[in-house]
């Protein structure tokens, strides 16, 4: 019994350390790759490459407060991810059984959740660069762009960006690091919340996360 519990715990911690590493990579990679408004994009590699270039400009900017830069960054993030597609995918089967009101509430909150999760590390920029190394078609609509994130004092990280051609231009629909998909990871996390407390419970969790104050104070 004891042995089983121990093994179980170590299994958990392996998964947790994977997820932590994964999130760290995402936190570094996403600020690098995202800021870009719809410019002329000939192919998905250029789309991701351009985002990387422009991200560095934003990250190195010193105008405005960190909060203003973060706000600006979140808007750009929301524009370059297919937030509603990812949101529906991540909710899985529960999307179809949710009421229209639940769907609307969830999607509005999911955008906040997504951009908050991936813009966490903005401002912690220490000279990372993103290089596109390969591209392959996943299916008729989707392309996977492989990138190397080069870091000044650490080994590079490989990240795969799943890019979909939509009527509104290319949109990122998933990121995979070390074989772990961001969308699938979130999907299992959300499924366990929905399993315990239903879709309303998940909405409540997202609402509470968004309701937290997120800026440090300097006085009062």
């Amino acid at each position: 019994m004891k042995t089983y519990a121990n093994r179980n715990r170590s299994g958990d911690s392996v998964i947790k350390s994977y997820i932590r590493r994964f999130l760290t990579v995402i936190a570094i990679a996403v600020p690098l790759a995202v800021p870009c408004t719809a410019t002329a994009q000939q192919n998905p590699s250029q789309f991701i490459g351009d985002l990387g270039q422009q991200a560095i400009v934003v990250l190195q900017s010193t105008t405005g407060s960190l909060e203003q830069r973060e706000q600006q960054f979140r808007q750009i993030l929301a524009q370059n991810f297919d937030v509603s597609f990812i949101g529906r995918f991540v909710l899985g089967r529960s999307w179809r059984t949710a009421s229209p009101q639940q769907q609307a509430d969830y999607l509005a909150l999911f955008e906040d959740f997504l951009v908050l999760t991936y813009s966490r590390r903005l401002g912690g920029y220490t000279g990372e660069r993103l290089a596109v190394v390969a591209e392959r078609a996943a299916n008729e609509r989707d392309t996977v762009v492989r990138t190397q994130i080069e870091r000044p004092s650490a080994t590079p990280i490989t990240a795969d960006w799943r890019v979909r051609a939509t009527p509104a231009g290319y949109k990122i629909i998933d990121i995979e690091v070390a074989g772990i998909s961001m969308a699938l990871t979130q999907r299992s996390e959300f499924a366990s919340v929905v399993g315990r407390n239903g879709v309303d419970g998940l909405i409540e969790v997202l609402r509470a996360r968004a309701a937290k104050l997120s800026a440090p104070v300097t006085r009062s």
Partner: protein, 273 residues
């Protein structure tokens, strides 16, 4: 007697000087961490605030909670965030009380406990902390940790709206528009939609645009309708994007251009709550 007075005066001077000194150092102490944070040097900010937090400064404790919650300069650790917020909350610091309550609602870094969340929110509300007053209203709307009570919820929304909270203003406006728990009152609905819209709330901007389009609680005005609807559309609110496209069809290009220029100049009213 004169000597006593003299001594008293001297003591008073010392006390005043000390409190003055305490006030300025408290302010100065937070500043280096703040500057490091703004530069994006999160590790430095954390170490500066940690010294203050260990010395019992509730604001520094609250700030450390933010860094752990957001994973800035450290690996995200929701449980550590909750611990720092709890310490500052127990000292009565309202922003920490608010975040601790929301961690309890989300079950983020701590077991979910609606009843305890309500107790903390009530403490924040007692201090007039608008966000906590609003969230407390929501707990009564959904019956989380308390028995659902629309009347109490509206009471809290009214209080938070008057304290300047845009979400509360929006909820209150909607209640007046629909006569939901209050006598229907379009003029009051417009007043609260306007407050929230001016603070940049997209849903409120779209709703205010619709009041102008329909002439409900305000004189019908197609230009003002376009103005507020455009501001909501800029924030990518789906229904506002659709409504704006229809409004643009019905107006001349000159008018649309004029309104677009005013939209570009919009700056949200800064809200502290």
């Amino acid at each position: 007697m004169a000597q006593l007075l003299q001594r008293l005066a001297a003591a008073l001077v010392v006390v005043l000087a000390a409190s003055q000194f305490a006030a300025t150092t408290a302010k100065a102490d937070m500043q280096p961490g703040w500057e490091a944070y703004q530069r994006g040097d999160f590790g430095k900010a954390i170490s500066l605030w940690r010294d203050l937090a260990d010395g019992g400064d509730a604001r520094a404790q609250y700030n450390l909670g933010i860094m752990y919650d957001q994973g800035k300069g450290v690996a995200r650790d929701a449980a550590q965030a909750v611990q720092w917020w709890r310490t500052a909350a127990e000292a009565g610091y309202a922003p920490a009380i608010h975040n601790l309550a929301n961690s309890l609602i989300a079950g983020d870094g701590i077991d979910q406990d609606y009843a305890e969340a309500v107790r903390w929110l009530a403490r924040g509300a007692d201090q007039g902390f608008a966000r906590s007053v609003y969230t407390l209203g929501k707990m009564y709307t959904y019956g989380l940790g308390v028995t659902a009570d629309e009347e109490k919820a509206l009471g809290f929304f009214t209080q938070a709206a008057e304290l300047g909270n845009p979400r509360a203003q929006y909820n209150l406006a909607r209640a007046y528009r629909d006569g939901d728990g209050v006598a229907q009152d379009f003029a009051r609905a417009v007043r609260w939609y306007r407050s929230a819209a001016q603070a940049g709330d997209a849903a409120a901007q779209a709703a205010l645009g619709q009041r102008y389009a329909k002439g409900e609680g305000v004189s019908q005005d197609a230009e003002m309708a376009l103005y507020w609807t455009s501001l909501a559309a800029l924030q990518r609110l789906g229904r506002a994007v659709v409504a704006r496209a229809e409004m643009v069809q019905a107006l001349s290009a000159d008018v649309v251009e004029k309104i677009d220029a005013r939209v570009a100049e919009f700056r949200p009213r800064v809200t502290t709550q």
